[in-house]
Amino acid sequence: MKLSRNAVGWLNVVPLLAILIPFFVVPICVILAVSFMETDGFGGIFPVFTLENYTGVFTSSLTFNLYYETFKFTFLTLIFTAVIGFWIAYFLVFHVRSKILAMGLFLVCTVPFWTSNIIRMISWIPLLGKEGLINMGLQGTGAIDQPLEFLLFSPFAVVVAYVHQLTIFMIVPVFNSLSRIDKRVVEAALDAGASRLDVMRFVILPMSKSGIALGAIFVVSIVMGDFFVVKVMSGGGTASVVGAFYEDVGVLQYPSAAASAILLTIVVMLMVAAILRVVDIRKEISL
Amino acid sequence: MKTGNGDIELAGIVKSYDDGQTYAVNGINLKIPDGAYCCLLGPSGCGKSTILRMIAGHEDPTSGEIVIGGENVVGLAPVERRTAMMFQSYALFPHLSVRDNIAFALRVRGLSRSDRYRKADAMIEKVRLTELRDRLPGQLSGGQQQRVALARAAITEPRVLLLDEPLSALDEHLRIRMRTELRSMQQDLGITFIHVTHTQLEAIALADIVVVMDKGAIRQSGPAREIYSAPRDRYVAEFLGGQNVLSGRIGEINGVRATMNGALFSEVAIPLPAGKRLETGQELDIAIRRDDIELKPLSQKGMLPADSASVEGTVNGIEYQGNFVKVMLQAAGEDEFVAFVPERKFFEENLAIGEKVLAVWQISHTQVMA
C-alpha cells in the first residue's frame, strides 16, 4: 500500500501539530476570547461580550509610553547586535584564513548561547554596579571622583544585557550568509579594479542582508516579548509592555491583560511578517 | 552468471508533470534485447534520466508499459523488477564500509552476518577491492568508488543494471579507463546494461545500441556505427559530431544523382537515396563525415573525378589535434564546415588562414537526411 506524498507529509507533522495546537493555537485563542469578556475586578471573568478592554488599552497613555520604551529598546538592540554581529562574522569569514580556526572561534562565540540567560544577565552586576569593577577601576585611575550611576539599573544596563544575550542571533545567520559568498567573486571584483569598499558595498553587504533579517526576527521577537531583563537591569525604573501585562495578571486583571497581550502578539507578528517579506526563511535555512 | 531474461520493451511511455502541463518523456517505444549494452544519449533535460528512473521503479510513467522479460513491471518495487541502479554520484552510504555497502541488499533481506559477508567477499574479490573492504567510501578514489557502486548493485543479481551518468564524476583520464572496465564487467555479468550519458564518445565506445534522445522523444536508435555514420537527421548528426551538415534545395534530378543548391554553394552532387523520393525544389539536409573530406587547391576545380562533389570555402580556423588537423572553412553559411586533414598531409600542403580551397568528397559518402 503506497501512501500519497501528501499523506506521508501530514503523518510526519502530526506530532508537531499535536504540540503546536494545544500549546500555541489554543492558548492564543483563550487569550483572544478572554480579551472580549467582562471582569469583576477580582479575578472573576464573565462570558459577556465587551470591547471595553480594548478601548481601555487604546485610550491609555500608558500603553503608548510602554510601546515607546519597548520599541526604543528593540531598535537600539537591533542596531547594536546587527553592527557587532556583522563585523564579527565578517572577521571570521574573510579574515581568519584557517577554516578550522574560524570554525573554532565561531564555536567559542556560540557556547554562551547554550547557557542560562538569567545568569548571563546577573553576571553584569559585579561589573557595572556602583562598587563594581568598572567604577572601581575608573575611580582608581582618577578618571572620575563619583561612581557612574548610569551603568547599572538603568536603560544603559538593559541594552548591554540585551546585546550580550542576542548578538549571537546575528552572528550565526550572517556567518552562514557570508560563508556562501564565493571568494573568487571577491577576487574577481578586486581584479576588475574595485576597491575593498566597493566590494563591501556591492558584494558583501547585499549578501549579508538575508542573514541580518533572519537574526532580526529573533532579536525583535525576544526583546518585544521580554520583561525580566528590563525588570532586573533597569532596577524597576523602566516598564515594558510584557512587564505591565505581567503586573495586570498579578492583580488578576485578566481581560485587560489579555487585550494588551493580543495587541502585543499582533504587533510582533506584523513586525516579523515585515521582515519575512525581505527574506525567504525556508530558502535561507536549507541552503 | 545468467540471471533471467533481461530483455526490455518500452511501449508508449509518457511521463508528464503538473497535470500534463509539461512532458519529461513523450511517447517512447524501444526494444532492448537481453544482454545488450544500451546507451541513452542526449543533452541534459532530454528525458533520458527519467526513463532510467522509470525502468528502475523510482518513478512511475503517466502512461505506457515497461516490459522486462515478458512481464509488465509498472507499479512493482525495484527489487521485484530485478533491476539495480548505479547512481550518478554513486550514492555510497558514507557511514558503511565497502563490505557493508556491498552487503547492504543482503542485510535488508535478512541474511545472517556470516552469510552476507561470504557473498559480499566473493563480489569484492571480483571487483578487486579485497584490500580495501574495511575502508569507508570517503577513503576511496573515484574509480574505486565506482567499483563499489557496481558491486553493490550487482550483488542483487539483477536482470538489468541501470547506470545514471556513471562516469561523469571522474576525471578525463580515469573516465576512459573505467569505461573499459564497465564494458568488460557487463560482458562478465552477461546482463543488460542501460547507461545514460550526455557524452557521445562514451556512448559510441560502449554501446551495442545507442538511443539518441531530444525533448522527451527518441530521434534515432541503432548500433553505434549506424548512428555515427548514417545519422537520420540534422539533430543526430550535430549531436554525435564528426559530420558537416549542409542545407539546401534540390536543383535537378537525373536518374542516379541530384544536385543541391545552398546559401554559399551550388550544384553539389548528391546520391539518390534508396526508398526515398526527391523532388525538385525540395529542402534537404545532407551530412558528410569530416574525415571524408579532402582539401584541394582551387585550381583543380575542373579536374575532379566524376564521382566526387565539392564546395568552395575560405579557411577561417586551424586547430592542431595531434593525429590530425582540424581545418575550419567558411563554406556553408551559418553551419560549421570542417575537414579533418591527416597530420602529415596538412604539413606538406601548409594551408593558412584566409586561403581559398576546394573541399572534395566522394558522392557515395554523402548521407541524405530528412
Binding site: L16, F23, P27, Y90, C109, V242, A257 | S89, H95
Partner: protein, 303 residues
C-alpha cells in the same frame, strides 16, 4: 596585481590592497582587536561571577574577592533559606530530558515531512514560526488559563513541558532543515533500490547518516529547556524549575549564593555542551574523509 605602470596615477594607490609585511590588510588588526573585545565582553562577566561564588562568609556581590571557600555552594545545597535548590535542579534536568527526547523525535519526523512539498506545508511552517516568535510570557499565561478552564492542575511535567516544546520544537525543526539540506536523497533512493523497506531505510541509512545533526538538535532541546524562563513562569505549577529558582533569588537574595547557583548551573550547561560537541566531533572524525569525497563527487557532478 600590485604592479602599477609608473605615471598611472589616475587611480590613487590606496585603492590597491597594499599587503603589509605579514600580508594582512590593516582591517585585519582592527577587526581582530574588535573580536577580542567581543570575547572579553561575552565571557568576562560570566567568569567574574564564577570567581565571586568562591568567596567565604564575608563575601559580597561585588569585587574585590573576599576570602576563598566553598561556603556559598554548601549553603546552596544544605540551607533551605535560599530556596529549594536540589528539588528544582532535579526537576529541571528531568524536564530537559523529556523535552530533548520529544524535540529530537518530533523534529526529525517534521524534517522528513518538509523534505518534500506537501499540501499545506507552508501553513504548518508559518504556524511553527508563529509559535517561535510569540511572546513567551503571554503564551505561558494563555496555557495557564487554558489549563484552569479545563480544570487541570498545571505542573512542570504537563503544562510547562508543553509550553517549552512550543519553543524548542520550532527551533529543533529549523536546525533539522539545515541538517537535512546536506542529506543526499540518493542515499535513500539507493537503499530502496537495494530492497530496503521504509523502516529499514530510516533505521539503516537516514538515522545513522543524520546522527550528528540529531545530536545538535538534542543540544538545542536540552539547553533551551534547561534555561527556559518566560514560558515556564506561569506554567510550572506549584514546584519551581531551576531558572525560576534563580529568578526568585535575583529578586530576594543578596549573597554570593546567587552566584554559586549560577556557577553550578553553568557547569551543567558546559557539561552538556561538551558532551554534545564531543560526540559530534567523534562521529565527524570517523567520517571526515567520506564527507570530503562526497564533496569531490559533488563538484565533479557540476562540471
Amino acid at each position: 596585481m600590485t604592479a602599477r605602470i609608473p605615471g598611472d596615477s589616475a587611480k590613487p594607490a590606496s585603492r590597491v590592497v597594499r599587503p603589509r609585511a605579514s600580508g594582512r590588510p590593516w582591517t585585519f588588526y582592527v577587526l581582530a582587536g574588535f573580536f577580542t573585545l567581543y570575547l572579553i565582553a561575552l565571557y568576562g562577566p560570566m567568569i567574574s561571577i564564577y570567581i565571586l561564588s568562591f568567596q567565604d562568609l564575608k563575601g559580597g556581590l561585588v569585587f574585590p574577592m573576599r576570602g576563598f571557600s566553598l561556603h556559598w555552594f554548601h549553603e546552596l545545597f544544605y540551607q533551605t533559606r535560599t530556596g529549594d535548590f536540589s528539588g528544582s535542579f532535579r526537576r529541571s534536568i528531568g524536564l530537559a530530558v523529556l523535552v530533548t527526547v520529544i524535540t529530537v523525535v518530533f523534529s526529525f519526523m517534521a524534517g522528513l515531512a518538509f523534505r518534500k512539498r506537501f499540501r499545506g506545508d507552508t501553513f504548518v511552517f508559518y504556524l511553527m514560526i508563529g509559535s517561535l516568535v510569540a511572546p513567551g510570557l503571554v503564551l505561558g499565561i494563555g496555557i495557564g488559563l487554558a489549563f484552569t478552564l479545563l480544570g487541570l492542575q498545571a505542573s512542570w511535567y504537563t503544562s510547562a513541558l508543553g509550553a517549552q516544546l512550543s519553543w524548542t520544537l520550532p527551533f529543533g525543526v529549523l536546525v533539522m532543515f539545515a541538517v537535512m539540506s546536506r542529506f543526499n536523497n540518493q542515499w535513500e533512493e539507493a537503499a530502496r533500490d537495494l530492497g530496503a523497506n521504509a523502516s529499514q531505510r530510516v533505521r539503516l541509512v537516514v538515522l545513522p547518516i543524520l546522527a550528528p545533526g540529531l545530536v545538535a538538535v538534542a543540544l538545542f532541546g536540552f539547553t533551551l529547556s534547561y534555561d527556559e524562563f518566560a514560558r515556564t513562569l506561569q506554567t510550572a505549577g506549584p514546584l519551581n524549575t531551576l531558572p525560576l529558582e534563580i529568578w526568585s533569588m535575583t529578586l530576594n537574595v543578596t549573597s554570593p549564593s546567587l552566584y554559586s547557583l549560577g556557577t553550578v548551573s553553568t557547569v551543567v550547561s558546559f557539561f552538556i555542551i561538551g558532551l554534545s560537541l564531543g560526540s559530534i566531533v567523534l562521529i565527524q572524525r570517523h567520517r571526515t574523509s567520506s564527507r570530503r569525497a562526497a564533496l569531490d563527487v559533488h563538484i565533479g557532478e557540476k562540471q
